[in-house]
């Protein structure tokens, strides 16, 4: 029976528009027969006016003051009929007190963006300077959300089986050398899917794609005259909207479709999509920043404020979102559910996640309700939740982040230990042993598993891998802050010359050190993450904080794929090796191992004996389990690392007699580090070259 509902009919006309009282849920805009339902929350606001625009027009089409009896609780909602969904842009004027000491910053003159806006205009094409005189800069639009997924759903790959590839949407293909048609866009990544597949990664982690303004705090470099941007985008304008300037179709407002198409195509290739999300602060800055949305809707609810009404700054960027206020918590939940349900996103990495565990006054909570809600949410139940387990307010929670059995962490200790170990620092062997088995010192006591640890040696923050082995010091002059910005604690070593050199010996050592880093990363338990381009030696010329650079410094130079083919081939092969050896991906600290060997054992130059002393620079590990498809068959991998500046003999550990070792990788021979057709290794041991690693796998003897 097709019953016509009477609540589909308008009840009155305001400003020439047919309207009726709306429904308060869901927040934002939803479509109802014949019209659009607008719903917005303000607890301290005293009136609400819906401002409607025709696309890109400076003057509003209409301003509809929402009648007071349309309000239920703190929510104003109204249905407006006969709107042109595609053309209409909207915002709100909210009246209320301007009393900063009490936390209120209402201003009727401002037009505010809908915090639930699913699509935004105003920054449609990257780098086009906006008309700053326009009083409404970030304009809420209607998203269709009718994408044809053709049976796609999130991939739900086991955490322990992931190999994550971190990338910046624009940097990845912006360079001329990328050889794609739609450079610097979501579609550009789609064009590079065959490459990602050939590399062997099965997840991409995208640096922020929630709508941000690249012109926020934009400035001109004092010496070079180049424009510096908010390039990385760790400053959200709209939590529900994908960045239009990253879409080739952004000028037509079709970023929603383009981004969904990227996710769908990545899924077809077996690659998950993880979003780097920034909920710790917003683009509204402190009391000097613009009033885009939250400030004018309910400043006191959305931000952590000092008793005097100033903004707490645990994020280091001006303000701190008040994530454990129940209203804000629901917004975060709604947001992630939306991306998961509507965009089929596989996981989220939370920037400065420790902030999400602070109470409204900034004190760390032992049982943060937001983190708990996310961990037990029905829609997010298969989503990866990854914390950057620290914040800029001094909270460092690697190993102690409130995980509720669900959260994994960027393991900053893995990064630092591996870096120190690589350059041959003293006293690293013991800690390195913890790191390669998934950091049980951090995660076993609290019942977590190795895949809790996202292992990495580089990420967007800091040196690229090529720079880690080419620079002792950061070189951030291009950022226009006289090299004062960026971290100094890089644990890097230039191998004998600072920056570019013609010295063949140094260049070879750098290549070898890069292979060593990737080799150890891919033979550690936990979830490995690579930074875009590290597999072929991408450099930022020593810049360890290229957050504002939109130039070849930050863009991936794809010509390096040819010139550094050896590193690429090594990376590709060792990723493949990881996928083929379940013993490297065991996700249990108390795993029983295989019939003949423990799950993970450590060795030195003599099997079963490790020199744990301060000056030791030799460490080997042997990982083992039964093969997934044949429980009688053994899987075993032996890795020996020598970070000393002299070669060292390692005796090989014994295997059951029907098995033998095959040498698979040896970075001592950088021209030929991977054995493509390995055969039985006849010697009882191997001389591991200076600063080199070798990797063996066990195989059944040929009879």
């Amino acid at each position: 029976m097709d019953l016509e509902r009477i609540d589909n009919l308008p009840t009155e006309t305001i400003q020439g528009f047919r309207v009726r009282p709306g429904k308060p849920l869901p927040f934002g805009v939803s479509s109802v027969p014949g019209g659009l339902n607008f719903s917005v929350y303000t607890s301290a606001g005293t009136s609400c006016t819906l401002v409607l625009y025709s696309r890109s027009e400076e003057k509003p089409l209409a301003e509809i003051k929402v009648p007071d009896y349309y309000r239920i609780g703190d929510v104003y909602s109204i249905v407006v009929y006969d709107l042109d969904y595609e053309d209409v842009e909207y915002g709100f004027r909210i009246d209320g007190p301007f009393d900063p000491e009490q936390g209120h910053r209402f201003n009727q003159d401002n037009i505010l963006m809908d915090p639930y806006a699913r699509c935004l205009s105003g920054r449609d094409v990257w780098g086009v300077e906006p008309d700053w005189s326009n009083p409404y800069q970030y304009r809420s639009r209607i998203a269709f959300d009718d994408f044809d997924w053709e049976g796609d759903s999130p991939l739900e790959i086991n955490d322990a089986d992931l190999v994550i590839y971190e990338l910046h949407v624009r940097s990845f293909t912006k360079s001329e050398t990328s050889d794609v048609k739609f450079k610097g866009t979501y579609a550009g990544i789609t064009e590079k899917i065959p490459y990602l597949k050939s590399l062997g990664v099965n997840a991409v982690e995208l640096m922020p794609i929630f709508e941000f303004d690249e012109f926020e705090n934009s400035r001109i470099h004092p010496d070079t005259g180049e424009r510096l941007y908010n390039y990385w985008g760790y400053s959200t304008v709209a939590f529900f909207a994908p960045k239009a300037g990253f879409a080739a179709s952004g000028k037509f407002g079709m970023q929603v479709d383009e981004f969904k198409q990227l996710v769908k195509e990545l899924h077809k290739a077996g690659i998950e999509v993880i979003l780097d999300v920034v909920f710790n602060h917003t683009a509204e800055g402190n009391e000097l920043g613009p009033s885009i949305s939250f400030k004018g809707l309910d400043n006191k609810i959305y931000y952590m404020l000092t008793p005097e009404g100033y903004y707490f700054n645990f994020s280091g960027t001006g303000n701190t979102l008040n994530c454990n206020n129940p209203v804000v918590r629901n917004l975060v939940l709604d947001c992630l559910r939306y991306w998961s349900a509507e965009y089929h996103i596989d996981g989220f990495r939370f920037d400065l996640a420790s902030i999400l565990g602070r109470d409204p006054w900034g004190a760390p909570l032992s049982n943060p309700p937001l983190l708990e809600s996310l961990a037990f949410d029905p829609i997010l139940s298969s989503c990866k939740l990854i914390a950057e387990a620290w914040d800029a307010g001094g909270l460092y929670q690697v190993g102690t982040f409130p995980a509720f059995g669900r959260w994994s962490e960027w393991n900053g200790k893995y990064r630092d230990t591996l870096r120190r170990f690589l350059k041959g620092d003293e006293g690293q062997v013991g800690e390195m042993a913890q790191r390669v088995q998934g950091s049980p010192d951090l995660y076993q006591w609290n019942g977590r598993s190795p895949a809790t640890s996202i292992n990495f040696v580089t990420c967007h923050d800091g040196f690229t891998l090529a720079d880690l082995v080419s620079y002792n010091e950061k070189h951030n002059e291009a950022n226009g802050e006289y090299n004062r910005d960026g971290g100094d604690d890089n644990h890097s070593w230039n191998c004998g010359a600072e920056g570019w050199t013609e010295d063949e010996w140094i260049r070879s050592l750098r290549l070898k050190q890069s292979m060593n880093a990737i080799g150890i990363l891919m033979t550690s338990r936990g979830t490995p993450m690579l930074l875009m381009g590290d597999e072929f030696g991408r450099s930022q010329h020593g810049n360890n904080n290229a957050y504002c650079i939109d130039s070849p410094i930050s863009w991936v130079d794809w010509s390096l794929l040819d010139s550094n083919q050896a590193l690429f081939a090594f990376t590709q092969k060792i990723i493949d090796f990881r996928h083929k050896h379940p013993c490297l991906r065991v996700n249990q600290f108390d795993h029983p191992g295989s019939k003949h060997l423990p799950s993970c054992s450590f060795h030195g130059t003599t099997p079963w004996q490790v020199n744990w002393s301060n000056d030791s620079r030799q460490l080997a590990w042997l990982m083992s389990c039964n093969m997934d498809d044949n429980q009688d068959q053994l899987d075993a991998v032996y890795v020996a690392t020598n970070t000393a500046h002299y070669a060292t003999w390692f005796d090989l550990p014994g295997l059951p007699q029907e098995y033998c070792w095959h040498l698979r990788f040896n970075t001592g021979d950088i021209n030929n580090p991977a054995q493509d057709s390995p055969s039985e290794f006849q010697d009882p041991g191997i001389l591991v070259g200076e600063r080199s690693i070798v990797v063996f796998s066990a195989s059944l003897r040929e009879t």
């Binding site: 042109d84 969904y85 595609e86 053309d87 044809d148 979501y186 080739a248 479709d257 198409q261 769908k264």
Partner: protein, 107 residues
């Protein structure tokens, strides 16, 4: 925007000229609903369409579903390069068979 019905070999050809966007797409949709004959393949002639908005592209998908239900072929003809690019990056392209001109439709 103008819409007219022509024929080419055994195809019924919907010839569109002018911009297809939210302001005009209703006319195109009405035309499709009212004028299409059953059982005959459909070509949408777009040579004289310089721009197609999101709403326009969505109507193409509606037409694709409709012809699929009718069990007849659908061809798009003379799609401007910029429209084709937008269709490619947003995933619309893969649902269609596209020809440069009516004469290049086989058979």
């Amino acid at each position: 925007m103008n819409v007219s019905l022509e024929s080419h070999n055994n195809w019924q050809v919907i010839k569109v000229s002018g911009q297809v966007d939210s302001k005009t797409v209703g006319d195109l949709r009405d035309f499709i609903d009212n004028e299409l004959a059953q059982g005959q393949p459909v070509a949408l002639e777009l040579t004289e369409v310089p721009f197609m908005s999101s709403a326009g592209l969505r109507t193409l998908l509606t037409l694709q579903r409709k012809t699929m239900d009718m069990g007849v072929d659908l061809a798009l003809v003379g799609v401007a390069e910029e429209i084709a690019d937008t269709m490619k990056v947003t995933g619309f392209y893969q649902f269609f068979t596209i020809y440069a001109s009516l004469d290049s439709i086989p058979g």
